[in-house]
């Protein structure tokens, strides 16, 4: 039996701004299973960072409204906890790594001290013991000469090394859940590969669950067990990596996959999603993706699609999966992936766009 460690239910968050209410996250629901890596993919402004920051309650207090929803961890709703209780969880049980390692580290403190600070706070160790533990952690994340490096300041490190320090900081209290918010976006590919492998290795070693936010599908393919695709504040598709990569159902997922060329891409024109993401200040009625969606149906402009079940682990919010929806043919690249999926996993149950394609071709 898979153990669910964190459960986010119907999370809805808005921000009060001078221009009005920005609905950043609308009804996001997902479970995090112990030991898995869940990747959340989406473009900037899709609400992926806001969703996970809400879990740790690190959103700005002044203008954030938690409209509804619950975040269950160890039987308690984190959104209802008093701040003092939350402080015992934040950083200790649920730790975060951020995108920019320079702005997340204190430039005036040595890195050893910064790591030790978190240990002293949560584990009640003495300064000297905490310092020793910090050196161990700095060694664990693969920084050479940990003794000397711990006495360095962040500016003396490269971006990759700083991100390693951030990881050491996040791991200081052996958290259950690690939230990595675009941890490799600012790094070179070679360094990115090292950091991804490091997170993966530590995840196994410390038996953590990881929520990994990124916009790079290549990174997702590398780290994720399951993938959630977000668009305009909603999850539009969620499933195992195999399902999302080889059996995607939502036109937005199709667009994302097709618009990233692989080294084999030879098409004269790259597939691109037309238009730009919607303004979250005044969201259109119906499906937010409809105006950019070549496969949009009339109902997409009127009513938001519910989740349709593709398999026990795979859900997609698109009207195309409705039994009464017309048949569509996904882009060629997606059809190729469907074939791969069929050849890999023979018994696929539930409704899917693929069945309709087959029916279309057959009759």
């Amino acid at each position: 039996m898979k153990e669910t460690i964190l459960s986010v239910k119907d999370l809805t968050i808005s921000f009060q701004t001078l221009d009005g209410k920005v609905s950043a996250v609308q009804g996001v629901t997902f479970d995090l299973i112990k030991g898995e890596t869940l990747a959340i993919v989406g473009e900037s402004g899709s609400g992926k960072s806001v969703s996970v920051k809400a879990i740790n309650r690190v959103l700005p207090k002044g203008n954030t409204r938690y409209e509804q929803g619950e975040v269950f961890y160890q039987g308690q709703n984190l959104l209802d906890l008093p701040e003092q209780e939350m402080e015992k969880i934040r950083g200790k049980k649920i730790a975060m790594i951020f995108q920019d390692p320079m702005t997340s580290l204190n430039p005036t403190m040595t890195v050893g001290k910064q790591v030790a600070e978190s240990i002293v706070k949560h584990q009640k160790l003495s300064q000297a013991d905490a310092m020793q533990e910090a050196v161990n952690l700095i060694k664990l994340v693969g920084i050479r000469n940990p003794e000397e490096s711990s006495k360095c300041y962040p500016h003396q490190f490269s971006g990759g090394m700083r991100q390693r320090v951030m990881i050491a900081l996040a791991l200081a209290c052996k958290p259950d859940i690690l939230i990595a918010d675009e941890p490799t976006t600012a790094l070179d590919v070679t360094i990115q590969a090292q950091i991804l492998d490091l997170i993966d290795e530590l995840k196994r070693k410390l038996n953590m669950s990881v929520i990994f936010i990124t916009h790079d599908l290549g990174v997702v393919a590398h780290v994720a067990d399951r993938v959630a695709v977000m668009y305009a504040g909603r999850i539009v598709e969620i499933g195992t990596s195999e399902e999302v990569f080889y059996y995607p159902q939502h036109p937005y997922t199709w667009g994302l996959i097709c618009s990233m060329p692989s080294v084999d891409t030879k098409d004269a024109v790259l597939y691109s999603i037309p238009g730009a993401p919607p303004n979250l200040l005044n969201m259109p009625a119906g499906d937010a993706f409809a105006p950019r969606n070549a496969y949009a149906l009339a109902i997409d402009f009127e009513e938001k699609p519910p989740f349709f079940k593709v398999s026990d682990s795979h859900y997609a919010a698109t009207w195309l999966l409705h039994p009464a929806a017309p048949k569509v043919t996904p882009p060629a690249e997606i059809l190729r992936r469907y074939d791969t999926f069929k050849s890999l996993y023979t018994n696929v149950e539930g409704v899917s766009v693929y069945d309709k394609v087959c029916a279309c071709a057959g009759g």
Partner: protein, 326 residues
């Protein structure tokens, strides 16, 4: 095997870079060799991709070519003219009319205080392309059409646009002087995935319509392969390998290129799970003093930075891989 930069007779060389060097703080303790003796040619109408990690000198190369940085040594010859010998405002203006740059950060490269019509229009006036207000406004509208921004947005300010739209405005500004050569310095890296594809399609369309030449600087290897005819790989101020795009990806020879290709994540799940990363030992290209090192053509159009002793080995490997491929 010849030790010189690539020369091919049948194509016109638009840009010739020879032994280019850029050293910051020369002779001081904090000396940085940003570009360390590189040579290459760009042919008319082709796209040369320049890849490498941050700090490898790829942006400095672009900026040196367009005279945003002074060069320490070497020559950059554009259309037969040595750009370091350009003197006087009009000569530089003519040069800039022919060569333009698109920058990485679409917000930082547009003045937030002036509306789009002036961002593009001022360039038109400065270069004397349009004289009257009517001409300018007509031309601005035409350029906005080309890059896919609605004309009625001409009075808006850069902050009112998204990143992708700002990048389009940056492209429109670069296009307004009808350049023959564009340096695109990481022009996609600040953009979302779905917008990147739009901009790439725009660049490719413009290349076809206007027969432009691009120097495309980037670190996204798949995108570079897609847009480029040839690719040069840079590391620590040196070009380590240069080859036609397909050749470089199919048969990389330099260990650094191999490691770079093996490090980039793939969007196909199965291939990604099977990907094995190769690490590159930087000591392999630190040659002892006195060794004769340089660019060697180990197979047609495929250049490797190595010592004279290593060149035959690379040549042998290139040959055997080609045989396997056939």
């Amino acid at each position: 095997m010849t030790k010189s930069a690539p020369v091919q007779e049948d194509r016109e060389v638009i840009l010739r870079v020879r032994n280019l060097q850029k050293i910051y703080n020369p002779g001081k303790k904090n000396e940085v060799r940003a570009i360390d003796d590189i040579s290459f040619d760009i042919y008319k109408g082709e796209t040369l991709g320049l890849v490498g990690e941050s700090g490898s000198g790829k942006s400095t190369t672009g900026r040196s070519i367009i005279k945003l940085e002074s060069i320490t040594a070497g020559t950059v010859t554009y259309k037969g003219q040595d750009i370091s010998k350009l003197s006087g405002r009009s000569a530089v203006m003519d040069f800039r009319k022919s060569m333009q740059m698109i920058f990485q950060d679409p917000f930082a490269s547009l003045n937030p205080r002036i509306p789009v019509k002036n961002i593009i229009g001022d360039a038109l006036r400065l270069h004397g392309i349009c004289k009257t207000d009517e001409e300018v406004s007509a031309k601005v509208n035409e350029l906005l059409d080309i890059v896919g921004i609605h004309r009625c947005y001409a009075n808006r300010y850069p902050t009112e646009f998204s990143g992708g739209q700002c990048q389009r405005i940056g492209i429109a500004r670069a296009l307004c002087v009808r350049p023959d050569f564009i340096i695109a310095d990481e022009c996609l890296s600040a953009l979302d995935v779905s917008i990147q594809a739009q901009i790439v399609n725009l660049l490719i369309r413009l290349r076809q319509e206007r027969k432009m030449t691009y120097l495309f600087i980037a670190h996204d290897l798949a995108m570079v392969k897609y847009i480029s005819d040839r690719i040069a790989v840079m590391k620590d101020g040196k070009i380590l390998e240069m080859a036609p795009a397909d050749e470089l990806y199919a048969r990389p020879l330099h260990p650094y290129t191999v490691s770079l290709l093996s490090a980039s994540p793939l969007t196909d799940l199965h291939k990604e799970k099977q990907r094995r990363r190769m690490d590159y030992d930087t000591s392999t290209h630190k040659y002892p003093a006195g060794t004769e090192v340089g660019m060697f053509e180990v197979s047609p159009q495929h250049w490797i930075y190595c010592s004279k002793a290593e060149a035959p080995q690379y040549e042998q490997r290139a040959f055997s891989r080609l045989q396997v491929a056939n």
